[in-house]
């Protein structure tokens, strides 16, 4: 068993920042990550980091823009924390050597971005994420922080208690991708999940292949609620054939969107008469699809994004990377032709429920970055607000896990007096998950193993109400038992000789999500998606791994990931079905307006003994010294 004070799962921007912060507080910290840190998807971020750094700007303005952008579904304490801490965290990156773009006077450049009232997006060319990721990793190397790379974390080691709020996380189970060894990692002080987005739930996505929602799904099965999962951001400018992102920086610098008739539709068709191309992402994504649906799209599929008029010099200076992307992945030369673009899945606004210190309701368990939902983005994330989220909340969670007192969090996690229990009108009962599911997917053959019935360990997904729950086990024991359960799961998957393969299921899941849980949503489509997801869940009982090798078995890894995709997809769809209104990125055909009287609240989904439970908690609109009043979002 490996042992550390703080374990950080995932080494993208959020995980690296958390590890550095915990290390600075004196903790013995280790990163466990399925990819080598520099391979993390943060490296793909292009546009920039929002930070109120200059005269004429203020964190309050940043907070106001973010609240408005969120369509009033963000929690003010989280948003204000983001905007207050971002300037210092951004400067910190610069002080660590990050090569930001520069003004004549040598200061960092900033540019306009969608939904911002001030050009506060601080950037490094059109490859901000690459530089941020590498700069943070360099600091990890400098400090000698231990990194277990190509270790896949597949389960949390959490104590068993019928009440999730009384559970405690003592570590994780990882498996070494290179050798196939399953091992326990004990965390004396805390586990921080920083596993990134779940984009692979969709087939047209800007996200990496490794973004499979592992963190949220593991936390969910350990009893932590998933929050606001229905809010998926679709980015308006992705390349049609691959989903590769063309940064919002292009529109920020003055890029123009045209339809097939050469009309500048954002203005001419009245989608955003003031901001045009720089309206917020949900608005632009819907506008593009409406153009396509009404027959003004190009090849019935996409629209054009034109940056030629910006001139070669400016393009090379600020958007050079875009030229490479358009050339390599779409065969288009952005200097001489417009680029084809369409909306694609981009970001998950929802995730693991946390407070503004990154803490979840299970003690000792934290979540930060895209896998978490401290609720800074609400119903729609502003471009350039995710990178500050990584560094701000990464740093806070790292410090908190290492024992620093950050003060009482204002956001409450878990159920409170204000909690309201929800119901979803679904085509199948929410609990209709095959009984063998646990045995297969979670390895917990607890059903036929009488020894582990008395198991005081709650391996994610196990029955929290089995006997012996009152015995408080030693932390090591909790981790050991989780390792045993994981070994059983892996053995089961490896020993099964025939059945269905994960690739087939993945394709099916991605297809239905893209078809039915996309930018435009209908009740019938959502129900269809739910039926399909549950069919996939049924079929997953029969999944097997064909590759017999323990060495670098990506078949096995993807099969484990597949289970996480199923849980994540179901949560997204259930949330979308429950929310009968139109807010931010969530548009419903039957309900084309925002319904503040009913829906100024978060959707939460909890795993209760294999049955997803839906409930709600109110949005917090009271900030430090003002209350954000919901207003109509016009751009």
């Amino acid at each position: 068993m490996y042992e550390h004070d703080v374990l950080v799962v995932g080494a993208g921007g959020a995980g690296l920042r958390a590890a550095i912060a915990a290390h600075e507080e004196g903790a013995d910290v280790a990163l466990v990550t399925k990819l080598h840190p520099v391979r993390s998807h943060t490296g793909a971020a292009e546009g920039g980091i929002n930070a109120a750094l200059r005269e004429g700007d203020s964190w309050q303005d940043h907070a106001y823009d973010t609240m408005k952008g969120s369509d009033y579904l963000g929690d003010a304490p989280a948003i204000e924390t983001l905007c207050q801490d971002s300037p210092q965290e951004t400067i910190q990156l610069e002080n660590w050597g990050m090569p930001f773009s520069r003004e004549e006077d040598g200061r960092m450049s900033q540019r306009p971005f969608g939904g911002l009232s001030f050009p506060r997006t601080t950037y490094a060319g059109a490859e901000t994420g690459h530089h941020l990721l590498h700069t943070l990793y360099q600091q990890v190397v400098k400090r000698g922080i231990e990194v277990y790379d190509e270790w896949y974390v597949s389960r949390l080691a959490v104590t068993e208690d019928p009440d999730p709020e009384k559970r405690q996380c003592h570590g994780v189970v990882g498996y070494d991708v290179q050798t196939g060894e399953v091992a326990g990692f004990r965390a004396r002080d805390g586990v921080i999940l920083a596993t990134g987005g779940p984009g692979q739930v969709y087939d047209h996505t800007t996200n990496a292949v490794s973004n499979t929602g592992d963190g949220p799904a593991m936390a969910y099965r350990a009893g932590v609620p998933m929050e606001d999962m229905e809010f998926i951001q679709f980015h308006p400018t992705t390349l049609p054939s691959t989903g590769v992102l063309i940064s919002e920086g292009v529109r920020g610098e003055g890029g123009i969107l045209y339809n097939e008739k050469g009309e500048r539709f954002m203005f001419e068709h009245g989608y955003a008469s003031n901001s045009g191309e720089l309206a917020s992402r949900d608005v632009v994504a819907r506008a593009e699809l409406t153009e396509v649906n009404e027959g003004r799209g190009i090849n019935d599929e996409y629209v054009h994004l034109d940056m030629r008029h910006l001139g070669e010099e400016r393009i090379i200076d600020r958007l050079e990377n875009i030229l490479h992307l358009a050339g390599d992945f779409e065969g288009v030369d952005g200097l001489v032709e417009p680029m084809p673009v369409k909306p694609g899945q981009h970001y998950a606004m929802g995730g693991i429920e946390t407070d503004e210190n990154g803490e979840t309701l299970v003690s000792g368990l934290y979540a930060v970055g895209e896998c978490a939902c401290a609720s800074v983005h609400g119903a729609n994330r502003l471009g350039g607000n995710a990178l500050p989220e990584l560094i701000v909340f990464g740093a806070r969670a790292g410090r908190h896990a290492a024992g620093t007192d950050l003060g009482e969090a204002i956001i409450e996690t878990g159920r409170t007096e204000d909690t309201e229990i929800g119901e979803v009108d679904t085509p199948v009962a929410p609990g209709a998950i095959h009984a063998d599911d646990e045995a297969v997917a979670d390895g917990g053959s607890d059903v036929d193993d009488s020894e582990s019935r008395r198991d005081a360990t709650r391996s994610d997904g196990g029955d929290p109400r089995s006997e012996g729950a009152s015995v408080i086990p030693e932390p090591d024991e909790v981790v050991d038992r989780a390792v045993q359960a994981e070994n059983r799961r892996v053995d089961h998957l490896m020993e099964k000789e025939d059945g269905v393969q994960q690739a087939e299921l993945r394709e099916k899941l991605q297809k239905t999500m893209t078809q039915n849980v996309n930018v435009f949503r209908t009740e019938e489509g959502l129900k269809q998606a739910l039926r399909d997801i549950r069919e996939v869940r049924e079929q997953y009982q029969d999944v097997y791994v064909d590759d017999p090798s323990r060495t670098f078995n990506t078949d096995l890894q993807q099969t484990i990931e597949m289970r996480n995709l199923i849980d994540t997809a179901e949560a997204i769809t259930l949330g979308a079905l429950a929310r009968d209104e139109f807010r931010g990125a969530h548009w419903r055909q039957e309900y084309q307006e925002r319904r503040d009287e009913k829906w100024l609240k978060h959707t939460l989904l909890s795993w209760n003994d294999g049955t997803p439970e839906l409930w709600f908690k109110p949005v917090i609109l009271e900030g430090e010294d003002k209350t954000y009043e919901p207003k109509i979002r016009s751009y």
Binding site: L35, H36, V38, R39, S40, H41, G43, A44, L53, P87, Q88, I91, E94, N95, W96, G97, P99, F100, R102, E103, E104, D105, G106, R107, M108, E127, G129, H130, H134, Q138, Q139, V141, K142, Q178, A208, V209, S210, S241, T242, V244, L245, H324, L325, D328, F329, E330, G331, Q502, A503, E507, D546, D547, P548, S549, R550, T551, F552, N553, T554, D555
Partner: protein, 293 residues
């Protein structure tokens, strides 16, 4: 147990034949011309290919643990061809539809994570950045030469990472601006100077293409030296640190090993002028020594 991929392929010979030294400027011009040519060719090919259905790929296979795969071999897969298809798309298709044990690293699909550098038709390239339409078929896909093969297309990256870390790849300066919200100033020119050096995605293509690195395990290699360049030239670190960095790369297995063959510069998917960086560091090192004589 592990094996080394055979460099004795026809393609490998072609590649070493190209390793004639010429200036980076010439190089770039040649590349530009070649890529225009390629594009024209590709458009032509696309038209012909529309009638064809599949593309043939030959993929290197090896697994130390599985009896049938202990002897390295090539497997042929036929993959339906679509416009815009990359080599990575093709191997993913082969894995998902033909053989789920086919193993390779990949993640971002957009040339930024650096994990899918393979030896494709005799040249180091990123699978995701390489259009099938631009290649001769059957497309031959092998692991990076000169690295130990773990399984199929997966190579052991440890020695590459060690070299990267040997040059102290992190910012070090004593002088930070006063005030929490003050950034260090950096001129545009200086940022421009280090820019290419900051683009490295750690794909190890350059290391794999380098004859010197192949013969000398301790040679820092082009990526690590270019990383050192990126820091040594960064005006924010100051002169003292620069001297320290020059000493690091001047050691026995440092810059002086480079024989200016340009193979690294030719394969770098991020167009980093590696050889230029190495040459400039050599010059700086000489200048520094002169100062002390």
């Amino acid at each position: 147990m592990s094996t080394q991929t055979s460099q004795e392929t026809e393609e490998a010979e072609v590649e070493s034949g190209q390793a004639e030294p010429h200036s980076p400027h010439q190089d770039r011009r040649m590349q530009e011309r070649a890529s225009k040519e390629e594009r024209r060719q590709r458009l032509n090919d696309e038209r012909t290919r529309e009638s064809e259905e599949t593309v043939e790929i030959k993929v290197f296979r090896y697994d130390p643990e599985v009896e049938a795969k202990q002897e390295p071999r090539f497997d042929t897969f036929h993959v339906p061809f679509e416009k815009g298809m990359t080599v990575l798309d093709a191997v993913m298709y082969a894995r998902d539809h033909h053989d789920s044990s086919l193993t390779f690293r990949h993640s971002c699909r957009q040339a930024i994570c650096g994990s899918d550098a393979f030896f494709i038709n005799g040249r180091q390239r990123l699978g995701c950045q390489t259009q099938i339409a631009e290649l001769d078929t059957p497309v031959r896909i092998e692991p990076l030469p000169h690295q130990e093969v773990v399984k199929d297309l997966v190579v052991d990256m440890d020695s590459f990472y060690e070299q990267m870390e040997a040059v102290e790849p992190y910012f070090q300066t004593e002088e930070k601006p006063d005030g929490e919200l003050e950034e260090q100033r950096q001129s545009r020119e200086n940022r421009e100077k280090i820019k290419m050096g900051t683009r490295c995605i750690w794909c190890a293509s350059c290391m794999s293409s380098c004859n010197i690195a192949a013969g000398d395990d301790s040679y820092l290699g082009p990526a690590a030296i270019s990383m050192a360049y990126r820091f040594a030239m960064d005006e924010r670190e100051g002169d003292e640190m620069k001297d320290h960095r020059l000493r690091l790369i001047e050691q026995e297995h440092g810059v002086w090993r480079c024989q200016t063959q340009f193979s690294c510069t030719n394969v770098c998917p991020k167009d980093i002028p590696l050889t230029e960086h190495i040459q400039e560091l050599k010059r700086e090192a000489v200048k520094k020594n002169l100062k002390f004589w």
